[in-house]
């Protein structure tokens, strides 16, 4: 029950030992070395200086720049050296188009960050630079720092842009080494591959005295250099991209996508009207921003992956395949006589050709794009089966392209019609419309490009992507992209390939505008009626083969007319240019490119 005795000296010795160690050390630090520490703390401040890493570049497949870093002169100020607030505010507002109250607000917001460089104005032009430099002596708090800013070679919708980390992003990301002065990818590939592009922060532990001079106090090696981000290599071809931009009909909106059938790599990605991500490199003015937001042509919309549109006849191969796969027709079945339309119930559905096509089998119906055939076929198909089949072939689904934002198309089902048009609405009419790619059906150009690419590839669907590889000391190829099979049998795929070939290369085929020498272009035209304007959307989707299929493409021009007259010839030109590219002789294709003006200056 009772313990052994412990000498009362034991706790006294232990406690005095602790006491002595603490007090002696305090004496050494505060009294003997107090002066030294006081000097550091009063005149000099030890702090971590963050070194922002250089962002990785983005190159095309031939190692030509798409997004790189250019040096720019930026103006910062530091509160600790600020003498006269009003004076500085006046000077800044006189030199730039900034309100002096706004400058005061910046100062107030950063009043507790006295020893940090706070950005005032980025990307100074030469004359302002000279003017500021002349007055630098009068305003010791100002400092000019030469830094790198992101610059994009041409307007596009896939690179996205970078911008300073916002307050909210900073709260979430400060653990990962972001500071309020670092940049971060805001959208597009810049956002998608932020982790790779960004690199690693460097640090320097410096002691800075009142003049901002580094003093050597700590003997340890307190420098860790920043590591540059990884350079990305895209599957994109700058020449093809530039060529397509130059031949796209003026003042028209639309999209063109070209994809490598064998890999899923994207060769060209054009959305019109163009959008220049460089406007975000300086400070974007409120006026320009509003103008962009309110422009009816929506220049910021990426029409390849984020615009959904009625596809029109380029959808017909899906309806045809479902007819064959479900066994309601075979390749020889001839359906209703086309006299320029087809009666369903009390409504007459028109064929695009008012004179009619007569009685056709499936291959001819595709070649001539006869609507009547598909109206009749739709009567034998189930709506929900159509939806399921569409999705089973990866249409109206996100493709998983390596962009942060992608929209999926839309295929209505029975329940949707009942919810939106009432309980007793008929679905036979809507079904007929859907079978020819009209009605409520919406898709993206990207989804269709993947589908036609898979048709060319004997039914193998490949995940579309921009990233071919990256350079991390050496060139690394990225290959973990998905490959899936279409839900279409090989016989049906072969049948469709043949029909698409006939569409372009036989007499009277609707796609004959895409025909060129030296290669076989296969494809399908589409002219989709829509609520956006009088004229139909012009579509052409297909692929081109030499020894084997190499590229798939979708050409889409909003409210421009018929696919056969507007989109098909464009597709033909693009394939022809690609043919010159693949021959490998620059002489052949470079002269086709427009001369680039001062837009890059």
């Amino acid at each position: 029950m009772y313990r052994k005795r412990v000498s009362p000296w034991v706790p006294i010795i232990l406690l005095s030992g602790m006491y002595a160690v603490l007090i002696i050390n305090l004496f050494i630090m505060q009294v003997l070395n107090g002066e030294k520490y006081l000097t550091i703390s009063e005149n000099n401040y030890v702090r971590i200086v963050n070194i922002n890493p250089m962002r990785g570049n983005i190159y095309d497949r031939k190692y030509r720049p798409i997004a790189i870093n250019r040096s720019s002169d930026n103006l910062y100020f530091r509160l600790s050296e600020l003498k006269d607030k009003g004076n500085l505010a006046n000077f800044i507002s006189a030199s730039f188009d900034i309100d002096s109250l706004a400058v005061r607000e910046i100062i107030r917001k950063n009043r507790f960050r006295r020893y940090y460089d706070i950005p005032l104005k980025k990307g100074l032009d030469r004359s302002t630079l000279v003017k500021i430099a002349e007055h630098l002596n009068e305003y010791p708090s100002l400092r000019l720092i030469s830094e790198y800013t992101r610059s994009y070679e041409y307007p596009n919708h896939f690179t996205g842009h970078v911008g300073p980390v916002s307050e909210q992003e900073f709260e979430a990301l400060k653990e990962e080494g972001y500071t309020l002065n670092s940049n971060i990818g805001k959208n597009g590939l810049e956002k998608q591959y932020e982790q790779m592009l960004r690199g690693k922060n460097g640090y320097r532990l410096v002691q800075v005295d009142a003049t901002g001079k580094d003093l050597e106090f700590l003997k340890h090696n307190l420098y860790k250099p920043a590591r540059k981000g990884v350079d990305l290599i895209l599957t994109l071809d700058n020449d093809l991209q530039t060529y397509i931009r130059s031949i796209f009909p003026e003042n028209k909106n639309g999209a063109v996508i070209v994809m490598d059938v064998r890999t899923g790599g994207i060769l060209a990605y054009v959305s019109m009207p163009e959008f220049d991500p460089n406007i975000f490199s300086g400070e974007i003015s409120q006026g320009l921003w509003n103008e962009m937001l309110n422009d009816p042509a929506k220049p910021m919309l990426d029409r390849v992956a984020n615009g959904t549109y009625p596809p029109g006849s380029i959808f017909k191969p899906i309806t045809a395949a479902l007819g064959l796969e479900s066994g309601v027709i075979n390749v020889k079945t001839k359906l209703a006589f086309c006299d320029g339309g087809f009666q369903i119930g009390n409504r007459y559905f028109k064929c695009w050709q008012e004179t009619g096509h007569g009685r056709l089998a499936l291959s001819d119906a595709l070649k001539l794009s006869c609507d009547t055939y598909f109206y009749d076929l739709s009567l034998r198909l189930d709506l929900d089966a159509m939806k399921a089949f569409t999705k089973a072939n990866y249409l109206t689904l996100k493709t998983g392209i390596d962009l942060p934002v992608e929209r999926a198309g839309f295929f209505p089902d029975e329940a949707w019609y009942r919810d939106n048009y009432g309980k007793y609405t008929g679905i036979i009419g809507p079904k007929a419309n859907l079978s020819i790619g009209q009605g409520e059906l919406l898709i993206t150009a990207l989804e269709f490009c993947c589908f036609y690419s898979a048709l060319a590839n004997d039914g193998l669907w490949l995940q579309p992507h921009f990233l071919e590889g990256y350079i991390d000391k050496e060139r690394v190829k990225v290959s973990d992209y998905e490959a899936r099979s279409l839900s279409i049998s090989p016989e049906t795929v072969t049948f469709l390939q043949n029909a698409l070939d006939r569409t372009v290369n036989e007499q009277h085929g609707t796609g004959s505008g895409a025909r060129i020498t030296g290669t076989t272009v296969c494809g399908k035209t589409g002219s989709a009626e829509n609520h956006m304007g009088e004229l139909t959307h012009a579509w052409f989707a297909g692929y081109a083969q030499w020894e084997e299929p190499e590229i798939a493409f979708v050409v889409f021009v909003e409210n421009a007319g018929h696919g056969g007259t507007i989109a098909a010839p464009l597709a033909g030109k693009i394939v022809d240019f690609y043919q010159k590219l693949r021959s490998g002789d620059p002489e052949q294709y470079l002269k086709l490119l427009p001369v680039m003006g001062e837009s890059n200056e």
Binding site: R3, N25, F27
Partner: protein, 408 residues
Amino acid sequence: MNNYRKRNEYDRVLLFLLLVLMVFGVLMIYSASTTKIGESIEHNNFYIRQIIFVIISLISLFILLKLPYMLIEIMIIPLFVLILLTLVVVLFLPAIKGSHRWISLGILGFQPSELAKLLTIMLVAKLLDEQHLSHIQMLLRTAAAAVLPVLLIFIEPDLGTAMTLVMSILVVLAFSDLPFYYLVILVSPLLSIVFSVNAYVFSLWILLLGLYFFRQKVHLLIAGLVGILNASLYFLTPFVWNSLKSYQQNRILTFINPLHDPFGSGYQIIQAKIAIGSGGWFGKGFLLGSQKNLQFLPEHHTDFIFSVIGEELGFFGCLIFISIYILFLYRIVLNVGKLKRRFMFYTSVGIIANLSIMMFVNIGMNMGLVPATGIPLPFIAYGGTSLLFNTLALGVILKFASERSVFE
């Protein structure tokens, strides 16, 4: 002789010193949560919350002293089981600042590890009081009782608290009836790992260990087993070290020497040292610490509050503060010295050891003497759970001191 044994008075001086420390803590947290540059002042509400914590702690202390003594002893095992469950639950809650230490109760957070520490010490003390057990049985039961809470706290991760708990239990063992060489056996593997850096040092250490066992007449079998275990550590340590990933090695190196990572914990220590050193003889004055005001000091209301004390009150201020603290600890020792019953004595030794270790490690860490491991300065640093259970631990000792005659 009067057969009637009455309760002793509570130690008023000790209660007064406790109050002094608490009030001082609130003042320093007020300073730490104030940022003053020129005319502009910014306050955080940490000090208001700390005042509330102090009031809650004092009320809890009062309630504890009113409880019947036996209730405290009976409640140890059920509470211990409950707190183990809580320690498991807390691991599955979302992490706060990268660790699973807190159970969030609205605006307040509760750290179960603080209560676990107190209960583990009491349970160990109870086990060491079981007279019918052999020494080996006692040791094994102690180890069994301690391993779960220590492990659970360790994987939160809260390395600092886990280590103080282990050290406190070792101190209890040193003051217990167990032979001292048991302790040597327990600690020897750790020393072997440290000494395995050099073959000569390691040989010398094993030699001394053998001599000690010989002097103490340790059973030959036990001595042999311990010897083999320690010798094998000499070969195992480099092997384990080399199989660690480089970031794991860096983490250990940084723990031993913070300057190994000058941008992480090393940075905090450099700043704390500059703050304390720049205090000089008399300090920069209350609320006027420049390092603190410029927010160079991280966590200056919790783990690094001592650097604010050092910077603002200087050597004299620190001297008075540390003297009061040591007096306070000594005053507890005086209360404990009168205890005769094993359970009471061991519990109290554990609690004193825990408080002293935390105080020493925290201040040492601020001065760069000890590796940085988030350990708060008891009764001073901001934090409700730590304040509450440290106060209750003190209450347990006061209760023992007042009830001791009843049991003698």
